[in-house]
């Protein structure tokens, strides 16, 4: 069984909660009585929609303020797939949470209210999906019931969103589904009220969309986390490199190079847990034995000898700033790429985008909380990363503040 990680974003009143509630309910992931309890307390609060956040907003601050602050994880499964929804607040103040949630997702669902069409939030969600190179964006045109289920309304929104996606530079696939989540139209089953819609209902689309295809097709990148030396009688000379194959696949007998030492060897054995396997796949945690004793340590990367790689020490990156303290040029951080940490300095700020308008701010010198922009970075030693657009799993990094130890930014290598 595979896992499909989804990201949703939006405010409580655009029907997002109703839609998620539908998916949970129709896949029997939530009991009828539990859903009814949420419906009842939503009504008590005077809401005309089901506030599903009542199920997930467990933080005291969220209950105090009646808002979703943090990413909520919602789980449901069918006979085919397990789904993990990272449900994030849509407001501009929580852009960092949106990006955090979306960073785990393979597809995102952007909700559009059929009555209002493209909103500021729609633009922001689409922009973030594009920034994160999410392959599949599903535009759920919701509340079709309030638009008389009219095809013209749907087509109009479709054209607007498609135009916007082009302007933003979104390269993935866009799928449009007209919905009335409240009544279940086109959520799990096709609606008879919209006979003009010839596509699949949402769940069917999710059930059949391919997952992990892109990662598997890219060149292999194996991030070494830990060296395994048993020192036991049985495995006296065993030396395995435990790590994660973030992209591509690797086979026993394949020639690999170690980055950064450029030493080469051949894969002698691959362990997945307690078993020897012939081949490892993208996303697998493996333990790799090589034919030769080469010096390899945590933070190194194994790549096939014939796969191109790039070495970077000074590079441009898109950055999302996540700390209260503003970022200015000249600051130093620990940069973590995969599991490798290295000292890094922000050379210069190229530009900053105002997330409420998605426009570049004229001559901005600093990043404030939730700002997205472009910087030039220099690292103390070279890193072996791909461009994010070429290989997202090997092209992102985080910045750690050396004094507070907290994660203050995420970056995407250009």
């Amino acid at each position: 069984m595979d896992v499909l990680r989804l990201a949703t974003a939006g405010s409580v009143d655009d029907g997002k909660s109703t839609l998620i509630g539908r998916l949970l309910y129709d896949t029997k992931s939530i009991t009828k009585d539990k859903l009814e309890a949420v419906e009842a307390s939503s009504q008590r609060k005077g809401l005309d929609f089901v506030d599903l956040s009542l199920l997930t907003d467990g933080l005291i601050a969220e209950r105090e303020q009646g808002i979703t602050i943090d990413v909520a994880h919602i789980y449901f499964s069918t006979d085919k797939r397990k789904y993990i929804i990272a449900d994030t607040p849509g407001h501009v103040e929580y852009t960092r949470n949106m990006i955090t949630g979306a960073s785990h997702a393979e597809a995102s669902i952007v909700l559009v209210d059929a009555r209002n069409g493209v909103s500021e939030q729609t633009r922001r969600h689409l922009f973030i999906s594009s920034l994160l190179e999410i392959d599949t964006v599903i535009v759920a045109v919701n509340k079709m019931d309030l638009a008389n289920y009219e095809q013209a309304t749907f087509e109009g929104i479709k054209a607007n969103v498609a135009g916007l996606a082009q302007k933003i530079g979104f390269k993935g696939s866009l799928t449009f589904i007209p919905l009335a989540a409240k009544y279940g139209d086109n959520v799990v089953t096709l609606s008879d009220k919209m006979p003009w819609y010839t596509g699949q209902p949402l769940l069917q689309y999710l059930e059949t969309m391919p997952v992990h295809q892109r990662d598997e097709s890219l060149p292999a990148r194996f991030h070494v986390q830990f060296v395994i030396r048993p020192h036991s009688d049985e495995h006296h000379d065993f030396r395995g490199y435990a790590g994660k194959l973030v992209s591509g696949s690797l086979k026993v007998g394949q020639r690999v190079a170690v980055l950064p030492s450029l030493k080469e060897s051949t894969i002698k054995a691959i362990y997945s847990g307690l078993n020897k396997v012939e081949q490892g796949h993208a996303g697998d945690s493996l333990n790799i034995e090589l034919e030769d004793d080469v010096d390899i340590s945590r933070g190194n990367t194994l790549v096939p000898v014939d796969a191109p790689y790039q070495q970077l020490q000074q590079f441009a990156a898109k950055l999302t700033w996540m700390d209260e303290q503003p970022l200015t040029a000249g600051k130093t951080f620990l940069l973590q790429h995969g599991v490798n940490r290295i000292k890094a300095k922000i050379n210069s700020v190229a530009h900053v985008i105002d997330m409420s308008t998605i426009e570049e701010k004229a001559d901005a010198q600093a990043f404030r909380l939730n700002d997205i922009g472009e910087v030039s970075i220099k690292t103390a030693k070279p890193i072996f990363a791909d461009r994010y657009a070429d290989n997202p799993k090997n092209g992102a990094f985080i910045l750690i503040d050396e004094f507070s130890n907290t994660t203050v930014a995420v970056g995407f290598i250009l």
Binding site: G58, D70, L274, S285, R298, F397
Partner: protein, 303 residues
């Protein structure tokens, strides 16, 4: 319910993710410890730790906070698992904290040592100088846990500040801390109860016998079935009777309720859990269900 598909129901991706997390713990911290409760989630953690470091031994010990009110079956299983896994087992006792006057035994019929164990745990962390504790919490269990990170930083007092949580982007985990701070790590954050059971079944894992249906002396209180034990304070009208039960979660004998069940295999348990998500978990049970429930009760020896 239709026949269960016995293969490929557990999403293996979750195992790869958990192993990755285990290895990050071993690499990023000086003194990790695995918190072992005797329940299925922590047994799953042990299995994952073994796989993460095979063929080497697990490079950290397990720590059990023994309340003194555990099921004897849990303790026997714990000792067996320590031997089987080759992991060092450290046990610290709530009784010692009571004897040292650090905590006070609760009184009354709901008395339990559940709250008391936190003090023993924090003392054990300080004593062992552990900078990271691996726990079996899952996000689907409880609302507050739904928002907890995989690497969750605690201050000097073991406290969690929800507002100061570090963003976790992609799979990059940041375990950098100051001296005195401690991190709680949850490798099976993204697993659901059903995922855990499917994993146990596919891995053919041993679990304590009390998870399976067995005959036991119980009392009924507040509509739940409590195992009769010397640790449970009972009133006069709470007369123990024998029933066929099993435990869905395993904690202390004073705070773990049994469910009437005849599930003697993992397949049956999984069937039961799947059914339970449709009927039993909620507060309101429709007529048909309660009728069936009564029938079930009778079947297993009630009255």
């Amino acid at each position: 319910m239709s026949a269960l598909d016995l293969t490929n129901t557990f999403p293996r991706e979750l195992e790869h993710e958990a192993i990755y997390i285990m290895r990050e713990v071993a690499a990023q911290f000086e003194r990790p410890v695995l918190l072992f409760s005797g329940g299925k989630d922590s047994i799953t953690l042990v299995r994952l730790a073994i796989k993460a470091f095979y063929p080497a031994k697990v490079p950290f010990p397990m720590l059990h906070i023994d309340t003194g009110h555990n099921f004897p079956e849990t303790i026997a299983f714990r000792d067996w698992l320590a031997k089987e896994s080759g992991m060092q087992l450290i046990v610290r006792y709530v009784q010692d904290s009571i004897d040292q006057g650090k905590v006070k035994e609760e009184t009354g019929k709901y008395a339990s040592r559940n709250m008391l164990q936190t003090v023993t745990l924090l003392d054990a962390i300080e004593e062992g100088k552990y900078d990271v504790c691996i726990g079996g919490a899952r996000r689907d269990e409880e609302k507050a846990r739904a928002k907890e990170r995989i690497f969750s930083v605690r201050d000097d007092f073991g406290q969690w500040d929800a507002k100061k949580q570090r963003p976790e982007l992609f799979d990059m985990l940041n375990g950098k801390i100051n001296v005195g701070e401690n991190v709680r790590v949850f490798p099976i954050s993204n697993w659901t109860e059903l995922d855990v059971w499917n994993y146990i079944r596919e891995e053919k894992m041993e679990i304590p016998s009390i998870y399976y249906s067995h005959k036991r002396q119980i009392i009924e209180r507040d509509g739940m079935y409590w195992p009769a034990s010397p640790f449970l304070n009972t009133t006069e009208d709470e007369v123990p009777f024998e029933a066929t039960v099993r435990f869905r979660t395993v904690g202390d004998m004073t705070c773990t309720a049994a469910v009437l069940s005849e599930a003697v295999t993992l397949d049956k348990i999984i069937e039961e859990i799947k059914e339970a998500t449709i009927s039993e978990r909620g507060a309101r049970i429709d007529d048909k269900r309660s009728e069936a429930a009564m029938e079930k009760r009778k079947q297993v020896g009630y009255f």
